[in-house]
Symmetry: C2
Subunit: 356 residues, 2 copies
């Protein structure tokens, strides 16, 4: 097994020009001196330096669609928080847009699709995705960021899982219950399968193109997996996750099915390298259900509202719960916008100290 | 153990003037010829007869606050769907309003509190609840409905659990993450405990008054329990649920902590008669974690978007999963507004047939 020098690798990686490959080692199942740590939504949201970039722009989409800017904010948490990986600043909704359904992001409200899929006729609006044509701005940002990182830390790419993208394409925006999307699974299963397959194909092409453009690891976000019961999850979501795991090559894949802790037995059958665990799922239960996989997670982001002492203690407890090895440290969901970056630093620092 | 005549008791209860006490028997742990069935949100939402009443009014609150109307729509599902219990048409937000924080219900948006609790100073807005003074309209509706039911089926009262009410009082409206409410638990625990205790006391007084006014069973809705990790749930929610279980007398209590399947071991320590199970939680896991309690649930409401055949098959599967006894049939969450009442009838009928 490859080993790294803990001291040089972790905290001082940037200063010393070291290559921090902890994430890739951990995803390969290797034992590392300490677990790697990154934070969902680390790029954007909490850093004043991000807000400074953001405030100069017309909107969120300008940031997503301008490679230089996406690259800039992707690098910020590497420099300013000291995470062990960069994740490209982008949005899962670029895929449905590339398929033919454009999205808007409305300040303080969220995403909105002016057109949605309600019937078989609406499928005519959609077309297959050619990543270098329809998503070139993401791939350019990926290439630029990979160069700029200069191997300091690995670069993560990502996409939404088919079920999650389907939710937005049906509902046209956020929803608590996703009952319209679930209604389509129940009342028009053939149409639902067709749309899910189209999304799956676009996602496979997109993720493979990300790897080609420099992504060294990938995360698949099934953010609304928790809206499905076991039967629906098994029929509609799981087979597409499997197909993506099988057809995306060249980078380890983390599948994060939020709110789907009860489906971990099923998720554990996927040929991916890691499974993300939300903060609701007890770590021991996750280990029991998915004993072979690397697990990623799972501190409750709201823990970071506590004092520094509380943050460090909670981080220690979490590290103990996961035990040594097969663990990529992260929150159990994206960091909240009003969390103090210093608390995120304390969280990261506590993980780094665990290797001392 | 008391037994009932299945045929006479269930389907033809109304016609034959029989007293259908299936729910009370099941909650008492008695074996019944078939499980009782009712539907969360059965009053309101799906029935055209409800919409006819609703369309004559200025808004939802008028319905909640006018005992004759609340009584009318409470009876509708007993007559029109054939459920084994009535649940009073009301809203969990009447309690924070009675404490001093009025709420509005905005069409297609949801509840909104013009004033919220953000600091210790805001607690001065609140006062203890005298149910016969501050919530007389609910108690009047309860008395009227109990009389109108004439013992045909039992009448259920309800309230929100302290954590769930707390969420609204802090956030001022719905939220996906309830991160502001969770922030208060993390950053101002003393203030949070104070507010939660005030809500708990109001809730105990309110539920005891409901029993006095005629409620024969009670349900406590911890709708946002799923936003808490195990540590927060154990510290902030569970002790208040326990206090309510201990201090509310005279009617069996169902605790429904939605999204908190992972907390079922803890919920199983509560001295209540039944635990509600959401549709995410596998029945076998629930039985394993709470073997002593009657369980209520848990069909995915979106199942009712399927064909009648699918609805009946899914209901059969659920009945089989729960096994005979210690089961109150329900959905795993409230019925969705666009579900066809005939599908709800098929669900109910399938449960009734199981006693043949």
């Amino acid at each position: 097994m490859a080993r790294v020098e803990p001291e040089q690798n972790s905290i001082f990686a940037t200063e010393m020009g070291e290559k921090n490959t902890l994430l890739l080692q951990a995803l390969a199942g290797e034992m590392t001196p300490r677990p790697p740590v990154w934070v969902m939504r680390q790029a954007g949201r909490i850093l004043p330096e991000y807000r400074a970039v953001r405030s100069r722009l017309s909107g969120f989409k300008e940031l997503v669609e301008t490679p230089e800017l996406a690259c800039e904010v992707t690098l910020q948490p590497v420099d300013l928080l000291g995470v062990d990986a960069a994740i490209l600043f982008s949005d899962i909704l670029v895929v449905p847009e590339a398929m033919g359904l454009p999205y808007e992001l409305i300040e303080k409200v969220g995403p909105r699709f002016p057109e949605t899929i309600g019937s078989a006729a609406d499928l005519k609006r959609l077309h297959p995705v050619e990543p270098e044509e329809h998503l070139k701005y993401v791939l350019d940002a990926m290439r630029m960021t990979r160069r700029a990182l200069d191997e300091r830390v690995p670069l993560i790419g990502f996409a939404g899982a088919p079920w999650t993208i389907f939710c937005y394409m049906i509902e046209g925006g956020g929803s608590k219950e996703w009952s319209r999307a679930r209604r389509m699974l129940r009342s028009e299963p053939a149409l639902a399968e067709d749309l899910l397959d189209r999304i799956t194909e676009a996602t496979i092409a997109y993720l493979n193109a990300q790897v080609e453009a420099g992504a060294q690891a990938l995360q698949l976000f099934d953010s609304w997996a928790g809206a499905l019961d076991a039967t629906l999850f098994e029929r509609y979501s799981l087979p597409r996750l499997r197909r993506i795991c099988e057809e995306v090559k060249g980078a380890p894949l983390i599948v994060f099915a939020k709110g789907a802790g009860w489906q971990l037995d099923r998720l554990a059958t996927l040929p991916c390298q890691a499974l993300g665990i939300d903060w609701h799922t007890p770590v021991a239960e996750a280990r029991r259900r998915a004993p072979e996989h690397v697990l990623q997670g799972n501190l409750d982001p709201s823990t970071l509202y506590g004092t520094e002492t509380e943050v460090r203690a909670a981080t220690q407890r979490m590290l103990k719960d996961f035990g040594r090895g097969k663990h990529v440290v992260n929150l159990g969901h994206g960091v909240y916008p009003d969390i103090d970056p210093d608390r995120v630093r304390a969280f990261i620092d506590e993980v780094k100290r665990s290797g001392d």
